[in-house]
Amino acid sequence: MNTALPSEIASQLIALLAALMLVVQLLLVVQRMLLTSIRLFALQSLFLAGIAGVVAFFHGAIHVYVVVVLTLVGKVLFLPWLLDRQVRRMRIVQEIEPLVNFPTSMLVCGGLTLLGYVVSRPFTSLERLGNNTLAVAVTLVLTGFFLMINRLKAITQVLALLTVENGVMLAAVALTAYGMPLVVELCIFFDVLVGVMILGILVYRIRETFASMDTSKLSQLKG
């Protein structure tokens, strides 16, 4: 069913969802409440899954459905639940003051978005579906990076890492009509899963030892 019309729809859908992912990312940047941030991340992953779904549907690429399922199960449900548990267990609700105040960080994100577009402009031709999805992906990576720099709480940094992951996935979907080979996707997925678990363990230990999740306390190793 490779007609012009549906692929038209598809690209518009994808562009929309990608834009939504970016919006969510920006919301994450300004969000203080940890639980909300986790939900936002879940939402972002949901949109990612949506994009993957669209791609799968319009290309009838079976193994991409697997990716969709994995994303839904892992990133939309499991990881948020896990982090949620962590946060509740530690009874910390709020992010302390970030390094850069919100207006400035918004400005920075704007600049990074611009950079994302600049970087990915030459490759828009490569995208099968949607336009500037790649730009969104790169922007997600960069802003996620910035988010990581900007926040001090361990949990938020983990979240930021995951959004970077999302960005990469988006790029994968956007650039390659069929996503990566299944085995690679699986490997990546499980790595992310295990990674977050281990990070969880580490965060827990840090909390036990430092009685806080403020990573700015982790600065004894100098020189």
Binding site: L99, L115, V118, F145, I149, L152, L218, S219, G223
Partner: protein
């Protein structure tokens, strides 16, 4: 280079290895370790002497083949040696001095019994001898550098052998750091040659300089000058030398001063005369000037020392300077195309090299005996030792006369040759440059006279007059083996002084190899009894003649005694003490006092600072208690090296701020790198 000599040479190398292994095998039994290690070293060194002498006596035949010691590690790293005349000459030097030092060490090392591990000491000693010999023989850049670095390594270990002393540790570090910087320069220099020749073998380097562009060629010249200069201790690269030599055990000091700094001279000779091709004029001028400066400043600093071993160390700088004068002049003659004079100057340099090796080793051994007997290196606390250690005193005196370039000993001969070459250099060029020859000649004279002054002080204060401390008062003569070692070197001093023409024969192959002609026929008159400047009218000197003449004149005082003084009696009496109640050692002239006139005359150089605290009751002229303190500052240290060191530390400390410990900062580094690279990639 006949087969026998070659095999003997290989045996020598093996012997050193055996010595090292033996030392390590009997770690626990220190006496055994002492005898095995140093015995092996002595035997191997003896073999080295014989091998190199026979090799040199065989004359300059066809270029000897290079021998492969070990299978090549990788195509680049060949373990080949080539016993060519130059290498053999220096092998003779290291073996001769090594022999004496090994014998000496047999006795000297007893001082370590129960304190230190002699097995290790002996092993290091053997390895350093081995490495030094290999430096002189190696035929491949990689092998040369390996030997060079192992030599530096073992020397460092030997210098810091008494590592409980802070002084020894710091000295070792300073030595190794400087030496490593030098090695860096050498690596670059050799690689420049390698780029021109495309091979790492020395045979491929022969006269390679001629095929190099001016830029890399001059760069190589400077790199080698710095690299080998650091090892040789030329001013201003000398700072490690007066620190490391005193800190080391005395036999090691003798080794370093006698042999190891000569590796620098070997390198310079090998590179400049074998590899670099016809030199531009400024090379020779540079070397000559550096030599002159090193000679004069070296002896001036030596005069200011009252630490016996530091004094000797500074004299090494001086003598290296004198050697470089010869080499520099030789380079200039090569430039102006006077092969005869070139080889004369070269011979002067090389002859002084072996002379210095002999008498400086002798002096350090003597100093070692004295230090062991008096438990101090400070001359102000010695004195009167000529009565307590007569043999050592005699040997030291011979060494002192030799190093002060006084006839009839070897120092005079080599300096005479240097004078000759400088004198005749005047005619080689019409340009104003030639004024440098007589001027540096005059500086050489100044050096010689100051050296004489310095050794009057060194010998006079250390051995003469009354003992200045209890330790000096109950000092005892050194162990027999120690005396044997010194005696050997003393004999060498006398031989080298009285029969230069025989030694010059051994130098023929060297000049043949480097300058293309043999000079000894022109240098020896009256079937070898008289030494002549290379040019027919140049002038002649004959040490044996002078000695014989003196002997012939002996009847004169005898006759006078018979005629007039037969009735005269001799009695012992006190030295005149201005009517006080007897002389105390504190009234005798001190080393500091002795060198004061010089210190005053060269104020500008020494920047002497003195602090006098006088306590007195009624008049300052009757002090009850007087404290005098005087310092001399070494300009290069205080004006160049200390600031540089300070800067390095400061910068490094500043840089630690980069690793501030904050994750955010680290993330930002990565982020910025990423952005920059993105911009670069697009």
């Amino acid at each position: 280079m006949n087969q026998l000599a070659t095999n003997l040479l290989l045996l020598t190398l093996l012997g050193y290895v055996a010595g090292a292994v033996a030392g390590l095998l009997c770690l626990r039994a220190e006496r055994l370790a002492n005898y095995c290690a140093f015995g092996c070293a002595a035997l191997s060194a003896l073999g080295g002497v014989v091998a190199s002498v026979t090799g040199l006596a065989a004359g300059a035949g066809a270029a000897p083949p290079s021998l492969q010691l070990l299978p090549a590690l990788i195509p680049y790293v060949q373990f080949t040696i080539r016993p060519d005349p130059l290498g053999l000459f220096f092998t003779l030097l290291v073996s001769l001095v090594g022999l004496a030092i090994s014998l000496y060490s047999l006795g000297y090392a007893r001082g370590f019994y129960g304190r230190k591990n002699l097995g290790v000491f002996g092993a290091f000693f053997n390895v350093s001898l081995l490495a030094t010999t290999l430096v002189f023989l190696s035929d491949n850049v990689f092998f040369f550098l390996i030997a060079w670095e192992i030599m530096a390594l073992t020397t460092w270990l030997l210098v810091s052998f008494e590592h409980e002393k802070e002084e020894a540790r710091n000295a070792g570090v300073l030595y190794f750091v400087m030496s490593h910087i030098g090695t860096g320069c050498l690596i670059l220099g050799f690689l420049l040659l390698f780029r021109a020749s495309g091979t790492y073998g020395f045979d491929g380097f022969h006269a390679i300089g001629a095929r190099m562009a001016a830029g890399p060629r001059n760069a190589a010249f400077v790199l080698f000058l710095v690299g080998f200069g650091i090892k040789a201790g030329i001013i201003p690269l000398h700072i490690w030398l007066p620190v490391a030599h005193p800190a080391a055990p005395s036999n090691v000091s003798a080794m370093m001063s006698g042999v190891i700094i000569k590796t620098g001279i070997y390198g310079l000779t090998r590179v400049y005369f074998d590899f670099m091709g016809p030199p531009p004029n400024w090379w020779g001028v540079t070397v000559l000037v550096i030599g002159t400066i090193s000679a004069v400043l070296g002896v001036l600093y030596a005069l200011m020392e009252h630490d016996l071993k530091r004094l000797l160390a500074y004299h090494s700088i001086e003598n290296i300077g004198i050697i470089l004068m010869g080499l520099g002049a030789a380079l200039m003659f090569l430039h102006t195309g006077h092969p005869v004079l070139a080889s004369l100057a070269l011979i002067a340099g090389l002859y002084h090299t072996i002379n210095h090796a002999v008498f400086k080793a002798l002096l350090f051994l003597g100093a070692g005996a004295v230090v062991q007997a008096t438990h101090t290196r400070n001359m102000e606390e010695m004195g009167g030792l000529v009565k307590r250690m007569p043999a050592t005193a005699f040997f030291f005196l011979i060494g002192a006369v030799a190093i002060s370039a006084l006839p009839p000993l070897n120092g005079f001969v080599s300096e005479w040759l240097t004078y000759q070459s400088l004198l005749q250099g005047f005619g080689t060029t019409p340009s104003l440059i030639r004024l440098m020859f007589p001027l540096s000649g005059a500086m050489l004279a100044l050096t010689g006279a100051l050296a004489a002054a310095c050794f009057v002080k060194a010998f006079g204060i250390t051995f003469l007059a009354q003992p200045r401390s209890a330790h000096a008062a109950d000092a005892h003569e050194a162990a027999p083996t120690m005396l044997v070692g010194q005696g050997l070197l003393t004999a060498a001093c006398v031989f080298l002084g009285l029969f230069p023409t025989l030694v010059l024969k051994l130098l023929d192959p060297v000049t043949q190899q480097l300058a293309g002609l043999q000079l000894s026929p022109r240098l020896s008159l009256a079937d070898g009894w008289v030494l002549s400047g290379a040019v027919a009218t140049g002038g002649t000197v004959s040490m044996p003649g002078l000695v014989l003449m003196a002997v012939c004149l002996l009847p004169l005082p005898l006759g006078l005694w018979l005629v007039f003084a037969r009735g005269a009696k001799v009695r012992r009496g006190p030295t005149w003490d201005c009517g006080l109640q007897g002389l105390t050692p504190r009234m005798a002239y001190t080393a500091t006092g002795f060198s004061k006139p010089i210190r005053m005359i060269f104020k500008a150089l020494f920047r002497p600072r003195r602090e006098v605290q006088r306590e007195y009751d009624f008049s300052p002229y009757f002090a009850t208690n007087l404290r005098f303190e005087s310092h001399v500052e070494e300009l290069f240290l205080t004006r160049i090296y200390r600031p540089m060191n300070w800067l390095v530390w400061r910068v490094s400390r500043r840089m630690r701020a980069l690793q501030a410990g904050s994750l955010q900062a680290y993330l930002i580094y990565i982020f910025v790198t990423l952005l920059l690279l993105l911009l670069f990639a697009l």
